[in-house]
Symmetry: C2
Subunit: 376 residues, 2 copies
């Protein structure tokens, strides 16, 4: 049986393993925390640091194929494994390009892919020279995740919050909507494109908040956004599953924000709303099977359920009520500890139209909570 | 987190564990074979014999709830566990009643549930006295499974094949169709009823062959069959998930064949064809959540993929082609060894109408195989 490894054992790894169940594959996970969400669902769990060369190399060298569920992995080890015949999906070269926000932005510019204007800075001193470029968003080149490593700089007073490290200073765009397209590409260079989704972010935590599918945009906008995302992914020339995040600005221009070379939060609805989920699709790529069907079965709205209140052993409030709502699918990530803002689960609603579902979803947000205390 | 144990680790246990993923539950499995399909998907695996009192009792005594994926379990241990506060679903009393084909048939008779006429025999000698009752089916009271423990007795020459053990001798019914209804019942006595399915059996192996949903019968027949199945399940007065198998005879009479007190082969299509699958539904019962939605999303046809040829390490033939067929869902049970007739996986097809799907399914049967040799 084919041996496939996953670097990282969070909720994305967990849902990837859930989707592996129908396929003949031996699954391996590397992750520091043996109590992580993915640990009990894989065939073989290895405790180790996905950012450490030795750990990743030792984990990967007896595997046939390897993929990731998070970008913060040791790419040198993946390159060595690839040179020794382990198939890495996507190719380490692409992971390296994407992991660094500077090279990622340069890639868009070199490929004439529309993206917000930017300059590269290496220090706070260099930032001062770019005062006229503000308002802008400063993004650290490496190490940012889930809103960390990003600073909005509006005026000179904000410059001290800039990064003393290689970073991208990106012109602030007046955003009307945030969109995302997920695209799968296999070793035969065939592609499968998921319907455009729309994301509404929580202004305080910068975690994906409500996600709508299909996106509520003009069909022309949707096809333009999809075409741009396809251009991004085809340029990588690597098999993989990619989530391309885009901005629609107030002038209806589409700009690429960033790309994730993996299964992604913006694709959780695909588990129920689409025949071949993003997780199923990645297995098809890994197992050299035909790509799956990406047609939307039903409009959907997805909300993340994040930790509230204090940190501590996870307590779930209001979850039992969810089971009685038709068309509602609750996913518990089984994380032992809740922290404010930590993704603890998600809810997908399916139904007739997105607007009604969105109202329903907003109603749920006040009823459901996961916190580190037994009181809400 | 609630600790739930499953007795048995075959494909039903595997699919039950797959469905557990969204819920906050700690899963435990007891099974002799540590390489069984369910082993790698549970949180805690225990090697042990589900028919042995000590093994089942030791496994269950630290759990909150316990259920089964096969009837051949030690019921005495479950009774002791239940008396000590472990919740057993369904109740051991019902498992005992169903496990023995004699008491099961007597239950139908006592509850005025239509079933084929029968007499009880304890030896081959007693069979001889029942010669006028032939043609009939002789079913051993305990220990039969998947077609074993059943003999069709047509005339006096066949009597030597009867069982020298307590058994039911059941009048042979001229069968037009075989039907099944799955019904869930929770601790509040609420019920959820799945759409009627129709099963076509392979005449040689007696393993479920093609299963259609909805059953291709008159709506009146469907509602009668469903009402009878509900009568069967309500009489048990126990929470659980039950599959009631029925015969439609050539006179359009509906007769109960037998009941399984667990997730069942006739409900595999519910994974994709119905919002709350049979596996999801059992978790809802176990976790005291509301029952799920049983409406059919799409007509479906399901076929079992059984081992062919010789016994040996499992080789899959033609499986890769399946991935390219829209509306087709392949489930591999990941059994290490293939044997002729052994259930190795199943395929569910969704689409516009059952007849077209059935043609498609019959076409697949010649293309797909799992055998114990690398040659087809």
């Amino acid at each position: 049986m084919l041996k496939v490894g996953i670097l990282g054992g969070g909720q994305l790894g967990k849902m990837l393993l859930e989707a592996a169940a129908p396929y003949p594959v031996e699954t391996h996970v590397l992750e520091n925390d043996p109590e992580c969400p993915a640990a009990s669902l894989c065939d073989h769990f290895t405790t180790g640091d996905i950012r450490n060369f030795e750990d990743v190399y030792a984990f990967g060298k007896s595997l046939d194929k390897i993929t990731i569920e998070i970008e913060q992995v040791n790419i040198e080890a993946l390159e060595k494994l690839a040179s020794e015949g382990v198939v890495v999906v996507p190719e380490p070269r692409v992971l390296r390009l994407i992991k660094n926000k500077i090279s990622q932005k340069q890639y868009y510019r070199e490929h004439q892919i529309p993206t917000a204007d930017f300059v590269i800075t290496h220090s706070r001193q260099e930032l001062i020279d770019q005062l006229s470029f503000l308002p802008a968003v400063h993004k650290i080149g490496e190490g940012g995740y889930d809103g960390k490593g990003v600073q909005l700089l509006t005026n000179a007073n904000d410059l001290s919050r800039g990064f003393e490290a290689p970073a991208v200073l990106e012109k602030r765009v007046p955003i009307k909507k945030e969109l995302a397209v997920m695209i799968a590409i296999n070793e035969k260079n065939e592609t499968a494109i998921y319907p455009l989704v729309e994301m509404c972010f929580d202004p305080t935590l910068n975690l994906l908040d409500t996600q709508l599918c299909p996106a509520q945009v003009d069909p022309l906008i949707a096809s333009q956004a999809t075409a741009i995302a396809l251009q991004v992914v085809e340029g990588f020339r690597s098999p993989g599953l990619f989530a391309v995040e885009l901005f629609l600005d107030t002038q209806d221009q589409i700009l690429v924000n960033e790309t994730a070379p993996r299964v992604h939060n913006s694709g959780h609805h695909t588990i129920e709303a689409i025949e071949s989920s993003q997780f199923d699709m990645l297995w098809r790529i890994l197992l050299s099977l035909s790509l799956g069907d990406t047609r939307l079965r039903s409009p959907s709205v997805m909300i993340n359920v994040v930790g509230t209140g204090t940190s501590g052993p996870a307590h779930y409030h209001g979850i039992n009520e969810l089971a009685s709502i038709p068309g509602l699918f609750w996913h518990c990530y089984e994380k032992k500890v809740a922290k404010p803002g930590r993704k603890m689960g998600h809810i997908t609603l399916l139904g007739g139209d997105v607007n009604t579902l969105q109202q329903q979803a907003l109603g749920l947000k006040s009823k459901v909570a996961v916190s580190g205390s037994s009181e809400r």
